[in-house]
Symmetry: C2
Subunit: 206 residues, 2 copies
């Protein structure tokens, strides 16, 4: 019998809802995946936990680099043509948004991508604080989800454990920042590595 054609591995996309460069990547990665014939696997993670583990600090808290970064966030967004307005409260806890994402992956996988975009845009384009349950509720409704059920699931032991496992898994795979992509074992860190990721996918390893 002929060997069935191998399905190419997906692009693994690790992100944190409070990461501006993750937001920019989220606005471009689906087109890139489509152009290269790959599926996308979404992996919410928590930079706060990752930074505590690695002894790093959030970009905006580092002297000099912090000021530059705030300028670079918005300039990179304009360069990419993605609407971004830095939120007044930044960074925020993204635990509940990440858990909502995981709850949807179980109950309504068809809504996951729409929710990820809605949550990112709510925070980085509309200035809404998605760490607040009421705000998350609205975004879930706008995606067509059963918001109450999803938010209830975020308080269940199963979903709490699921997020812990996701964060542990990202750390085990070497994810030290976000956005972070892994494809066929090759890691790419940062929105500014999408051109390299695309060449890797379309022309092969280089």
């Amino acid at each position: 019998m002929p060997t069935p054609p191998a399905t190419p591995a997906p692009i693994h996309f690790y992100f944190d809802f409070s990461s501006p460069y993750s937001y920019l990547a989220s606005e471009r990665i689906e087109e890139l995946a489509a152009r290269s014939g790959r599926a996308l696997a979404f992996h919410p993670t928590l930079l706060g936990v990752i930074f505590r583990t690695s002894g790093m600090r959030p970009l905006t808290e580092i002297p000099l680099k912090g000021d530059y970064s705030r300028r670079d966030f918005t300039r990179s967004a304009r360069f990419a043509g993605v609407p971004l307005r830095m939120p007044e409260v930044f960074p925020i806890s993204t635990v509940q948004a990440a858990r909502s994402c995981l709850a949807l992956q179980e109950s309504r996988p068809d809504l996951v991508a729409a929710f990820i975009h809605r949550a990112f845009r709510a925070y980085f384009a509309d200035g809404l604080d998605i760490s607040k349950t009421a705000v998350l509720h609205d975004q879930l409704v706008q995606c067509g989800a059963d918001a109450a059920a999803v938010l209830e699931a975020t308080q269940s032991a199963a979903i709490k454990d699921r997020l812990k496992a996701c964060v542990d898994d990202s750390i085990a795979r070497g994810v030290f920042g976000a956005p972070y992509f892994i494809v066929d074992g090759e890691p790419f860190w940062g929105f500014d590595r999408l051109p390299q990721l695309e060449r890797w996918l379309t022309s092969g390893p280089f």
Copy 2:
């Protein structure tokens, strides 16, 4: 009398001879400057001093990020088409190379660009340890410089003070890493920001 046309400000290029991304930028920045009708001002600085001041650590010493960075150095070089082989000894002291650069700026400004390229390529393409005086001597000779005179100047109080002033100036201007570019007051950090720098120069601020 008509106002003479204003000369556009140069692209200020801050670099450390031990920084792989500075090397990559050094191989591309002159073409970019030429395309945008700007002069280049070379500013050797010392990442070791900058990191001590800001409380940062060299990239390769950070857990997880260090391993990724070593992979990214060479992949970014291949992506850009620049020959790079990570040196066995890395990082190295670049004090004497930086002072040689400053000594040449005074005695033979016409050789500065050639020396910068030679020193970077010696270290990152040819695997030569440019922290060693004998190696620096050879590179200076290859550039057509009076190597003995330049190396003697690197031990003078004037050139030592000059480098201290250069490093202090870079820190005062917010340079927290390398390569770092400032043009018309706008800062760009990293080899991966050259596309933004180029758009800024050719189409104006965005």
